[in-house]
């Protein structure tokens, strides 16, 4: 046991001395591994970044919220199957909530209705347009994922009375009131004065596509009063009790909605149940593409690198044939010699791996500093994986020359000049 350890130490020493003595040669040989590790870690960084970005965005949509719409959010290529469906209406929500309340051990808590449209608002001599405006009930406060920077949501009473109050997203508040708080100010919507009673904290955008900060929320009564009852942009948000039981919740909600709509068995659902999870599928091909490209480049680079290292190990064995003979004469066993050259090959690979990791980390830090929101993420796992890949590459490329060295005949090796 002790012997193995001493021989291992000796091999590492020799390998380090060997690399130090042949710096240029070792560095060039390690290049393939460097590129391979950069590729694999960049790939990992990007995929992890997408996952984390997605989780963040999902939290904005509400991980525990299901959406009932006329249309599925994604994949409605066969639009003719959906076009005749009814829109969701406020009456649907009343019925749905009654069913949820009367269901024992329901997976669902309650449903909230919203209607939307894009609006323009004015205040303070400034105006903004294209504001995503939501008319909803006071229950919206229970499904809202954003925090209030200041103020509050409207109350049930304010909703019933169709009071002209509103809550602004942070971008909207910022645009109209750059120098002061929007709270208590009056904004003009549809020619009517609305009092700002709340401002939402900044949320960012969903996968960089859709900003949650460009929005306004008002009581449904007021919304209907000034924009009329148009049903084409409506949705029902349904809060689940346990976000880990999304499949059960979805199933129950489907049954409930079929009852609300009075659908017969055998009829296809005339509504869609959506959720942030749906986007995950949309991301999968992107992630697969990155993984495929990354693995391809990695594989290619490591393959080329491995051949280079195999070659350099052959050269090293050749150059040191006499040394191998001497070591054997002094009592080195086959395994000792094998270990020595294997460790030499692995050391070069690990060197390449460390350089590759360093480069990736530098790149990552640079991108993070320049674009804090860019979805990339470095992790310890990447370090571990890179090291394992480097070691494996070293073993695979070193094993053949090292095996050859270990089986050299001592007499022939000693005679070699």
């Amino acid at each position: 046991m002790g012997r193995l350890l001493y021989e291992f130490n000796e091999s590492v020493r020799i390998a380090m001395a060997q690399i130090r003595a042949n710096k240029m040669r070792s560095a060039l040989t390690a290049l393939g591994v460097v590129i391979g590790i950069v590729a694999v870690t960049l790939m990992g960084t990007a995929i992890r970044g997408i996952d984390i970005g997605f989780e963040k965005s999902l939290a904005m949509l509400g991980g525990d919220i299901l959406y009932v719409d006329k249309w599925p959010w994604l994949g409605a290529e066969d639009w003719w199957n959906y076009v005749d469906r009814p829109y969701v209406k406020p009456e649907d929500v009343l019925k749905l909530n009654r069913i949820i309340d009367s269901t024992e051990n329901s997976e669902l808590e309650f449903a909230v209705f919203s209607a939307f449209r894009a609006t323009a608002l004015k205040a303070n001599g400034l105006s903004v347009s294209g504001v995503f405006t939501r008319g909803t009930s006071a229950d919206y406060g229970r499904v809202l994922t954003a925090d209030f920077a200041e103020g509050r949501l409207f109350t049930d009473a304010e909703d019933q009375a169709a009071r002209q109050v509103c809550i602004l997203g942070s971008d909207v508040a910022q645009a109209l009131f750059p120098a002061r708080s929007a709270l208590g100010a009056t904004v003009i919507v549809a020619g009517q004065p609305f009092e700002v009673i709340g401002v939402l904290a900044r949320q960012g955008s969903f996968l960089g596509l859709f900003s949650f900060d460009n929005q306004m929320v008002m009581p449904l009564g007021a919304f209907h009063k000034y924009y009329g009852v148009r049903n084409d942009e409506t949705e029902i948000m349904v809060k689940m009790k346990d976000k880990n039981r999304i499949d059960q919740a979805r199933e129950e909600l489907t049954g409930d909605m079929r009852r609300v709509r009075g659908q017969q068995p055998g009829q296809r659902d005339n509504f869609s149940i959506n959720g942030g999870e749906a986007f995950k599928e949309k991301l999968d091909p992107i992630k697969k593409g990155i993984a495929f490209a990354g693995l391809f480049v990695t594989g290619l680079a490591l393959f080329v690198g491995a051949i280079g290292i195999m070659n350099i190990t052959f050269v090293s064995v050749k150059e040191r044939t006499k040394e191998i003979g001497t070591r054997k004469a002094l009592g080195a066993r086959r395994f000792t010699i094998l270990l020595q050259f294997l460790i030499e090959a692995v050391s070069i690979c690990v060197l390449g791996g460390v350089i590759g990791l360093g480069l990736t980390y530098g790149l990552f830090a640079g991108v993070k500093a320049a674009m804090p929101n860019f979805p990339i993420e470095f992790s310890l796992l990447l370090v571990v994986v890179s090291m394992l890949v480097s070691i494996a590459t070293g073993v695979l490329s070193g094993i053949i020359p090292a095996w050859g060295a270990s089986r050299l005949d001592p007499v022939d090796a000693l005679r070699y000049e």
């Binding site: 002790g2 012997r3 001493y6 021989e7 000796e10 020799i14 001395a17 003595a21 006499k322 040394e323 003979g325 001497t326 070591r327 054997k328 004469a329 002094l330 009592g331 080195a332 066993r333 086959r334 395994f335 000792t336 005949d409 001592p410 007499v411 000693l414």
Partner: protein, 243 residues
Amino acid sequence: MTPPAPAELRVMRPVGPLVISIEGVTKLYQMGEETIHALRGVSLEIRRNEYLAIMGPSGSGKSTLMNMLGCLDTPTSGRYEFNGNDVAGMVDDELAEIRNREIGFVFQTFNLLARSDALRNVELPLIYAGVPRHERHERARLALESVGLADRIHHKPNELSGGQRQRVAIARALVNRPSIILADEPTGNLDSKTGVEIMDLFEDLYDRGNTLIVVTHEESVARHARRIVRLHDGLIESDRLAE
């Protein structure tokens, strides 16, 4: 050429138990179509405390015999026992074990590791023997001291003279306290004055109780030995004690 050594009194220590016993050993090398008979049936017994020279013209099979005796190679046919163990049938790693424990090699070209200092070079056999670090250092240091290199232990081979390099190699051969020390043309790469110094060191090793086998083609080197075996064309021509 070494100048003739002045007549001096030489002590011949009593020999000990049998270490090496070979009988009818042959070694063939296949060179394409041609078969070379490097050894054609050599029998030899070597006992502890002997100081033996193997002589003969170039190509007579000295190195082949020496490699055989040193367990670097196995005979094509014949019997070889080392300390009573049959060597002829051993596999590589078993031979390595014997070389490590029982045999110290001194080569004509020194064969030191260029990037390691003297201490590290001398430690090498101990590493392969699994001797712990601390003991290794101590024994290597003592071995270097015993060949007169106490003040050179951290010198690399290229910082040492030829004679000093050969002393490091001798310390390396001694460090495992082997049963025999084998030297193949140990003075072949040294000037005559340094060669004499090395032969004096061998004399010293002999006095300290080591068993020595020196391969040489120089009479002046062989004259130091107590017994001279002469090879010719793969056969022992004569085997007699020195006068």
